[in-house]
């Protein structure tokens, strides 16, 4: 775990400190301005957005959000996303926890090979397996239904989940398990009563990362769903195609609605997400 306390660095020149702060600030502004524009646009009328994109809304109205729901049937898409993501999250954790435990606690070559297998698994880019997955869905007659996404999504997040959980379980002292074993506890008892409760922070991190990944997933959802079953990201993506004669306010409202859930997850688990991803990248 990184040390969070501020470390004063002696002997750093003022010029360097000022220069680096300027670079960092410039980039931060480049990130924030587009997001700011979307945010204020979601509460402005279309002529106002086009005339003065940077200004604050002249009157506070949630009109765009109400219309976004009506026109894009965004609510339906959000509901679809919620169903798919929640089912996938549960499935992924139920599968990844035992696997992570096995990888962490079983000694020997086989376990190392399995971990290496998972560690490379999350480097596979979605586009590379798009067509085979599409053909699989077609042959199972599960195109355009949420069922296939629920079966498929857990598999995509499983590798990173297993690697992160294994790392977490390793940090739990083995002595705890040994002493319980001496007291006559069975293996399943040890896992459910000792390891599982102690893994809770790890499970939360994995769920937060998986939530952000799956809520944001666009490519598979695009080719595997239709108007009825499309997810929020597909609905938002369709806006991109309508930018020629755009209703900016409506689009901004849709984007904001799609971001809020991941933003919340990020706010809750941000520190662990960064550390978890760094640890994952170091292993891979």
């Amino acid at each position: 775990m990184a040390d969070e306390s501020t470390r004063t660095v002696p002997g750093v020149s003022r010029g360097f400190r000022f220069g680096t702060l300027a670079i960092a600030s410039l980039y931060a502004i480049a990130i924030l301005i587009p997001i700011y524009i979307v945010f204020v646009s979601s509460m402005k009328s279309n002529p106002e957005i086009i005339r003065t994109p940077l200004s604050l809304p002249s009157s506070l109205t949630l009109d765009n959000f109400v219309r976004a729901e009506q026109l894009g049937s965004l609510l339906r898409a959000i509901l679809n996303s919620a169903i798919v993501v929640i089912v996938s999250l549960v499935a992924a954790v139920v599968l990844a926890f035992p696997a992570g435990y096995a990888v962490a606690r079983v000694a020997g070559r086989l376990s190392a090979i399995v971990e290496g297998f998972f560690a490379t698994g999350f480097l596979i880019p979605p586009l590379a397996v798009l067509v085979p997955v599409f053909l699989t869905a077609a042959s199972l007659r599960l195109l355009n239904s949420l069922t296939f996404l629920m079966l498929f999504y857990p598999a995509t997040v499983l590798p990173l989940s297993v690697v992160l959980l294994a790392g977490f379980i390793r940090s739990i002292p083995l002595e705890l398990e040994d002493s319980a074993r001496v007291d006559g506890a069975s293996q399943s008892h040890i896992i459910t009563r000792i390891v599982l409760p102690l893994s809770r922070p790890g499970l939360i991190v994995v769920c937060a990362i998986n939530f952000i990944t799956l809520w944001n997933e666009f490519l598979f959802a695009l080719i595997l769903t239709n108007t009825q079953s499309r997810t929020i990201q597909v609905a938002v993506g369709i806006f991109a195609g309508n930018l020629r004669s755009p209703d900016y306010g409506l689009i901004a409202a849709g984007v904001i609605m799609s971001i809020i859930p991941t933003l919340t997850a990020f706010a809750i688990a941000q520190r662990w997400i960064v550390e978890g991803l760094s640890a994952g990248a170091t292993k891979g």
Partner: protein, 259 residues
């Protein structure tokens, strides 16, 4: 994928028969493939070193833990929790004919430079690449700052005693120390450029105008799902796969973990 590339499969339900290397022969005479290959090469040449080196510099700044650095870290990471769809819509909106960029150019008296950015051959690909930088710099900065935080303080102190400047500390001490980590990051970003970025092409420009922003990844997608040429699309996919594997090996060689 390899098998598909040897057939004449067109639509999902059609099935295909074996036809050897015909699809590969077709590649060599396909102008769009060559354009896509060139555009992808341009994107790799700019985005890969640009984002990784820029990310290193910003990551180093973050790792100095100046006052308020954690706020900067959150802002830097923010685009990475946004979906490609949301990012593409935001960029599409900013660069649309009546979007914020043109309005702002007008406002500061540069009205002559306003244009339809996304349907202009000279600006379509740069915008796709700009998206890489917009989210990538921050993402890798945060990862690199975490890795640079593991560099023992003694190494920095020793360097400082020897009179090294801050920049020398980054390039002579920090970078060699996290070499392996940089390699992994470079590989991730390379794969993103080859494959992930196709989503931005799809959402922002659809490869247009006149193939100006056509990349290999998007070409594969287009052939498979818009053009009903699954087998030929998979042939492009094989080229992508081989490029990715070779590129990954090169990156591994250059930035190998050194013990």
């Amino acid at each position: 994928m390899f098998y598909f590339s040897l057939t004449d499969w067109t639509r999902p339900a059609a099935g295909g028969s074996f036809m050897g290397l015909d699809n590969y022969r077709r590649l060599l005479h396909d102008d769009r493939f060559l354009i896509a290959l060139r555009n992808t090469a341009i994107q790799v040449a700019i985005s890969l070193p640009g984002v990784i080196i820029g990310g290193l510099v910003l990551g180093y700044v973050l790792s100095r833990r100046f006052r308020g650095f954690s706020l900067y870290r959150s802002v830097f990471f923010f685009p990475s929790v946004m979906s490609v769809a949301a990012i593409a819509v935001i960029f599409g909106g900013l660069f649309s004919p009546r979007g914020a960029i043109n309005t702002l150019l007008d406002a500061v008296g540069l009205g002559a430079h306003t244009q339809a950015w996304l349907v202009q051959p000279s600006t379509a690909l740069p915008i796709v690449i700009a998206v890489d930088f917009w989210f990538g710099l921050g993402f890798y900065a945060v990862l690199f700052s975490a890795a640079l935080g593991d560099v023992p303080n003694e190494l920095h102190d020793a360097g400082r005693v020897d009179g090294a400047t801050e920049w020398q500390l980054l390039w002579r001490v920090g970078v060699p120390y996290i070499r392996g980590f940089i390699g992994v990051a470079a590989m991730l970003h390379f794969l993103w450029i080859l494959l992930g970025s196709a989503q931005n092409v799809l959402l922002l420009t659809e490869g247009g105008p006149n193939n100006a922003s056509l990349t290999l990844g998007y070409y594969m997608y287009q052939l498979s799902f818009r053009g009903s040429q699954i087998a030929y699309g998979q042939t492009v996919g094989v080229v992508l796969f081989v490029t990715g594997a070779v590129g990954a090996l090169v990156i591994r060689r250059v930035l190998r973990r050194q013990f």
